[in-house]
């Protein structure tokens, strides 16, 4: 081997190593820069050294992302605007071609309404006030930062996108439904039969695929819309009521972070350590 070539290989090798290491350092810096407290964890923060982001935990399937899109659902606004929640659901149902069958067994749903006691089982239900007694809560996928469904999926058909959204690949899913057993929020639906049988094929949204039978689906916080700079469909449907606030939880200057700073919000089943990205004011 002539000397020049040897030198070249040496330099190439070293720079490759440096390159690999370099990205690792940058990644580390990036995650370090994102405040871990934005995870709104149930973790005992006081146990970690003051101000130190606590970045450890059990085997995690999903890496931390630099962006973490989240939602605040302000039920006060929904209660003040009757019909608004239904409008959100309708918009989502149409945009995502969600089938409707006339039986509960085949049900597919992404966004829906349910009673407070079902949505927030960990919270006290004794002597609830009238608002909670009377009104329902809008539910959708929690877009967990540590999603158990992603951990369980044997094919990575459900995965965390770079912006923190838990997305679903309908073409890779084998339909084992492990993710449905793993989701502690009941956010996932399975296509027990051909979904087109539950759609009015003359009035479907051609921009979004209908699914085939035998795959799992769920709310993806409109990953397809967010990717091109649009708001999630439900957020858009709320108009300027501010019933839903969408934004990056990792950006301390975002509207959602400011809102979270100023308001007391709750999350569903925070004790499970899934770190939901959906916050509620009930």
């Amino acid at each position: 081997m002539d000397k020049k070539r040897r030198e070249f290989l040496k330099i190439a090798g070293i720079s490759t190593l440096a390159g690999l290491g370099g990205t690792a350092v940058i990644d580390r810096l990036a995650t370090g820069a994102s405040p871990a407290r934005a995870r709104a964890a149930y973790e005992i923060n006081s146990l970690s050294p003051a101000g130190q982001p606590k970045e450890k935990g059990p085997a995690k399937a999903a890496a931390k992302t630099s962006q973490r899109l989240g939602l605040v659902i302000d039920m006060r606004k929904f209660n003040a605007n009757p019909g608004l929640a239904e409008k959100c659901i309708k918009t989502c149902d149409f945009l995502h071609n969600i089938p409707h069958f006339n039986n509960k067994k085949d049900e597919v749903k992404w966004v829906w309404l349910t009673g407070y006691e079902n949505a927030f089982q960990e919270h006290s239900h004794y002597y609830r006030n009238e608002t909670l007694e009377k009104n329902q809560v809008l539910l959708l996928c929690n877009q967990c930062d540590d999603p158990p469904c992603v951990r369980a999926c044997p094919t990575k058909a459900t995965f965390k996108a770079k912006n923190g959204i838990v997305a679903q690949d309908y073409h890779r899913c084998i339909g084992c439904r492990f993710c449905m057993a793993a989701c502690p929020y009941g956010s996932r639906s399975f296509n027990w039969r051909d979904p087109r049988g539950g759609l009015d094929m003359k009035h479907i949204n051609p921009e979004y695929p209908t699914r085939m039978r035998g795959v799992v689906e769920k709310c993806t916080m409109c990953v397809e819309r967010v990717g091109i700079g649009k708001l999630p469909a439900c957020v858009e449907a709320t108009g300027d009521t501010k019933a839903m606030i969408f934004g990056d939880l990792n950006d301390a200057n975002s509207e959602i972070r400011k809102f979270l700073k100023e308001n007391y919000t709750i999350q569903r089943k925070p004790s499970l350590g899934t770190h939901p990205s959906v916050f509620y004011i009930v």
């Binding site: 890779r172 084998i174 339909g175 296509n191």
Partner: protein, 390 residues
Amino acid sequence: MFEKALKGNNYYWIWLAFLGTFMAIGAFCYVRQYHYGLGLTGMSRDVSWGIYIAQFTYLVGVAAGGVMLVLPFYIHDYKVFGKITILGEFLAIAALLMCLTFIMVDLGQPLRVMNVILHPTPHSMLFWDMCVLNGYLFLNILCGWVILTAERKQVAPPKWIYPFVYLSIPFAISIHTVTAMLYCGLPGRHFWLSAIIAPRFLASAFAAGPALVVMAALVMKRVANFDPGKKAIDKVVTIIIYATLVNAFFVLLEFFVAFYSNIPGEKHALEYLYFGLVEHGHMYNNLVPFSWAFVVFCIVGVTLLSLPYTRHKNEFWLGAGCFSIFIALWFDKGVDFVLGGFVPSPLGAVVQYYPTLNEIMITIGVWSMGFFILTVLYKIALGVEREIEA
């Protein structure tokens, strides 16, 4: 050696035809399910796994149970088990093939199953389950076949097979441990979220698997003049009794933890399974008969196997005792464990699951397939035995 399975008396062929009929019906029902989707089953959004996965779970135990016949012979040099070790290995093969078939019929998109290998995902327990189940299947086929071939030639098995035999022992433990991990690592499912699930699975496995072997041995004694040896059967029965009692102990511990801690989420599934759950004034208790049948059959089985008269003097009662244990553990694991875990749903709803006729026929079809394979394998093993004696 397959030619041994092609020669048999009328009873043998009638039995195979009987199983074959149910296999055909099952296959037909599966074609229906394949074309319509899993909507033909009783599963729903809230109870998303049904009897397929429940059978899978139970049969993983039956497969792992075979190790109770292999381990004493190879590790402890317990010569008495010499004749039945092969029964344990062949049982594992048949049970594992049933397990894999139950997984396949449960998949929404079965043609995509290779995605599990194309996109290996180590953080998913299902990936590991695939690895250990196929590994254990391979080991049992290899060991069973090589040792039987050696036996037929009346030579000692080749030395290279022993590492595989020893490897199959931890593999047997691993298949049921990893299967338990499918359930016990899921947040928010209180009934499954228990560190005791894996040992409990193993305990019931070490009872159910050997119980099936004893029943098969008793049947073969009658129809094929096969004698496993009184001492061997007696020892296996002792193993079955202890394993059943350990399983019962674990179940009682689950009750203690749930009811003494008084945490509602811990209690719900047990209440639903054993007493029925009341929601909005409606009583949900469709699994209560199965749960108490589990209790009753456990007591009956252990009693029959423990009393000297029924255990030693009368083979009918011995078989009945083993059958009681086998069916009791099926109620516990092949019905209750998986279905109970889905109640109540993550949103606090109580949804009861009833399998459809189509689903039941597919399930019976897969079981028939398993017994068909088991019969053929045992026939081969017996044929070799007969050949040596002749």
